[in-house]
């Protein structure tokens, strides 16, 4: 292989080569560049930007979980924010007693248990009916928190200030600290996500999505696969929930409401359902869209602001909704597809195909 970066076909000679995550040296190199870039990025950003970046990364983690449930296994989940909420409330309860690096997996595991419970109806029902069941769980979750005195009935449960290596994290470095924590967790779980499809479980997920009766006939257990998909996806959401709790310094029910579940689905779709890069692009796109629309709405308010009408408040939901609708109609494979096209363009440059 003289020029490994300029291959024209599949030259794999062993099974091991065929199953590597990153097929070419150029892919490995670009990954390293990307990771280093992400590590030094905070040096160039102000605190306010870091806050948005953190939020995007935390949402990306949750969306990866949703991609396991909805993208890989095809189980529409309108209750993902509730899983995140389970993780966040777990974090709020255990954080006073544990260091943060222990809180994260604990929150993930508790959320995974909740995910498995929610997944149980998937044993009997599917498609739209399952989607509606997850919607019901979301609403029941919100109600249950609202009626639990131990959880402040949905009011703020403060997270303790984090102490790391004897050093207390404060306002100035809060977002920088949680950026690195979130990033580390995200890299770890993204690798797991990427690896998932190469496992027996991952393949059975996709088989169950495409036709669960056929998967059943081929000796897979669709019921168990679905429940496990819910548990795994909820684990991601739970870890994200704990990170969100630390990041926002308190746990409040509105952060885990139906609206947020819908946002996650939108992020997954806009990013590209079932793709790893889509899990990043979706949250980034929709969050930045929202922030820019907010800025835009102040600008438009200066020009056009009739009494009784709040133009500013109209723009954000309008943009959010239009983004979903337009992507579904014109690019149902999401931003991940643009990314794919872009890459293949550069790989084949200067040739057209």
């Amino acid at each position: 292989m003289r020029n490994p970066w300029a291959r024209t076909g599949n030259y794999k000679t062993s099974y091991a080569q065929d199953t590597t995550i990153f097929a070419t040296y150029s892919e490995q190199a670009s990954l390293v560049v990307f990771l280093i870039g992400m590590l030094v990025l905070p040096r160039f950003l102000i605190r306010g930007d870091m806050q948005i970046l953190d939020l995007i990364l935390i949402y990306a983690l949750a969306v990866l979980g949703l991609n396991i449930i909805t993208g890989y296994a095809g189980l529409i989940n309108i209750g993902h924010a509730a899983f995140m909420g389970v993780g966040a409330y777990t974090a709020a309860l255990v954080a006073p007693h544990l260091p943060f690096w222990a809180v994260l997996p604990v929150s993930g595991l508790v959320a995974a248990v909740a995910g498995a419970v929610v997944g149980i109806p998937a044993l009997r029902i599917k498609h739209l009916y399952l989607a509606i069941a997850t919607l019901a769980f979301q609403l029941i979750f919100e109600w249950a928190v609202g009626h639990s005195p131990a959880l402040e009935q949905g009011g703020a449960m403060a997270m303790p200030r984090t102490v790391f290596l004897g050093y207390e994290v404060g306002f100035k470095n809060h977002h920088y600290f949680w950026y690195y924590v979130t990033f580390a967790v995200l890299v770890l779980l993204a690798f797991a996500f990427r690896n998932l499809l190469r496992t027996r479980f991952g393949r059975s997920l996709v088989a169950v999505r495409d036709n669960d009766r056929a998967a059943d006939a081929m000796g897979m257990d669709p019921g168990r696969t679905k429940v496990f998909a819910f548990a795994l996806g909820a684990f991601y959401a739970g870890v994200a929930g704990a990170l969100y709790a630390y990041w926002s310094r308190a746990v409040v029910i509105e952060d885990y409401s139906l609206m947020i579940s819908i946002k996650f689905l939108a992020m997954a779709i806009v990013g590209g359902l079932g793709t790893l890069v889509g899990g990043f692009f979706g949250p980034a796109f929709l969050e930045l869209l929202d922030i820019n629309m907010e800025t835009f709405s102040y600008w438009i308010k200066e020009i056009y602001n009739p009494p009784g009408v709040d133009v500013g408040s109209a723009i954000r939901p309008l943009a959010f909704g239009l983004a979903i609708v337009l992507f579904l109609i014109f690019e149902p494979r999401g931003l991940a597809n643009w990314w794919r096209l872009l890459r293949s363009y550069f790989r084949n440059w200067p040739f057209k195909y």
Partner: protein, 390 residues
């Protein structure tokens, strides 16, 4: 050519004025859309208009206020983002909104030391811990509800009372204190019911009736309250209704019509139909900045004004003391504030131990489509007893 020179001089003076006017940002983050937005949208308008008024009249010499009202859709993540942006920009003071958002932000507010004035009058906002920088514009929900309970105990000794509250920390805020106060007053709180946004409250009302409830005390926003009192009227119940600041007001009269007759309401603000400076001021501003009638009449409009007013007043004090406008100087000013404002029934006073602005409240009753005060302004001694134990 003398005229020309005067003109140039005028331009120069104005230009100099603009050039030296210090821009001070004041941000409000609240629900213009989403839950409780029926209150939030007028609150935001009050802030905007008071700011414009302060700028237009040159209320604080050499300072131009840039007031931003941001719609956080009742979502704390948005509130947090807005607050941090304000802190990064070095805003001297921040105007908040929801109970949930305020409670969540408290530790951060404490850490960064930026004065925070919420629209939520939850007593928990100014209770320890992390309570140094939060300032309530008027007396808390707890005090409001206790004030109305005191009034009820006076007109109907030993009455049976039910509470109907918003299903949120905002709704639950006064419940504990109200229960303690009721025990002191010898009235009985039979039940505390959270009011979901239902189409029909028959079940709840009938149950209250069966339990012999005489008064329902609301801690909610006007929309659901209006529906519940309309249902009560339809069912022909003899139950009377009373509510804290956000439950009543002209909004309630508009929505509930006749059913609101006799509604007891506690607030610290003057009413638009009253013949006094406050009403005149509010109407003037509303007309000046083109607000529709329902905004001007809403109690949330002057509430927003008061919040903005407190912030602007503190900045004025800091400026007058010759200090640089900053969170620290604004905080110092707030602690010394004694502002005889013309929006509420009492002066806004703060000190190290007192983070409640207007300490006085009035009980009003809906009579023939307007709220008429039935008490003089007072502050509740019982509230201090049950809440602080003193």
């Amino acid at each position: 050519m003398k005229n020309k020179w005067t003109l140039w001089a005028l331009v120069a003076v104005l230009g100099l004025g603009f050039a030296t006017a210090e821009k001070v940002h004041i941000m409000w983050s609240g629900a213009i859309t989403g839950p409780t937005s029926d209150a939030g949208k007028y609150y935001a308008q009050g802030i905007e208009d008071y700011c414009s008024w302060a700028n237009d009249t040159g209320y604080v010499a050499g300072v131009e206020f840039v007031c931003e009202t941001r719609d956080d859709q009742y979502n704390n993540a948005n509130t947090l983002r807005n607050f941090e942006e304000a802190v990064d920009r070095g805003d001297p003071v921040f105007l908040g909104y929801s109970t949930g958002g305020t409670l969540q932000l408290k530790p951060l507010v404490q850490e960064v030391g930026v004065p925070f004035i919420p629209a939520s009058y939850h007593i928990g906002n100014i209770d320890p811990p992390d309570n140094d920088y939060v300032f309530l514009p008027i007396a808390s929900y707890s005090e409001q509800v206790i004030a109305v309970l005191e009034y009820i105990a006076k007109v109907a000794p030993g009455a049976k009372v039910a509470m109907a509250i918003h299903p949120s920390p905002f709704g639950r805020a006064p419940v504990e204190d109200a229960k303690k106060a009721a025990a002191e007053l010898g009235i009985q709180i039979v039940e505390v019911q959270e009011m979901a946004k239902g189409l029909d409250y028959t079940a709840t009302l009938k149950r209250f009736e069966n339990k012999g409830v005489q008064y329902i005390v609301y801690q909610n926003v006007a929309g659901p309250v209006a529906n519940m009192i309309k249902d009560a009227k339809r069912l022909g119940l003899k139950i009377k209704h009373a509510g804290a600041h956000y439950a009543g007001g002209p909004d309630l009269l508009r929505l509930a019509g006749d059913a609101a007759e006799g509604f007891l309401w506690v607030t610290a603000y003057y009413m638009p139909h009253e013949d006094n400076a406050a009403a005149k001021f509010v109407k003037e501003l509303g007309a000046k900045y083109g607000r529709p009638a329902d905004a001007i009449e809403s109690v949330h409009y002057p509430s927003g004004m008061l919040a903005a007013g407190i912030a602007i007043e503190a900045i004025k004090m800091a400026k007058a003391a010759g200090q640089k406008i900053s969170p620290e100087s604004t905080y110092e000013a707030l602690l010394k504030m004694n502002w005889a404002n013309k929006l509420a029934v009492g002066p806004v006073t703060y000190s190290k131990d007192d983070h409640v602005g207007v300490d006085q409240l009035r009980v009003l009753e809906a009579q023939k489509g307007t709220f008429v005060p039935v008490t003089e302004p007072f502050s509740s001694a019982l509230f201090r007893k049950v809440h602080y134990g003193k």
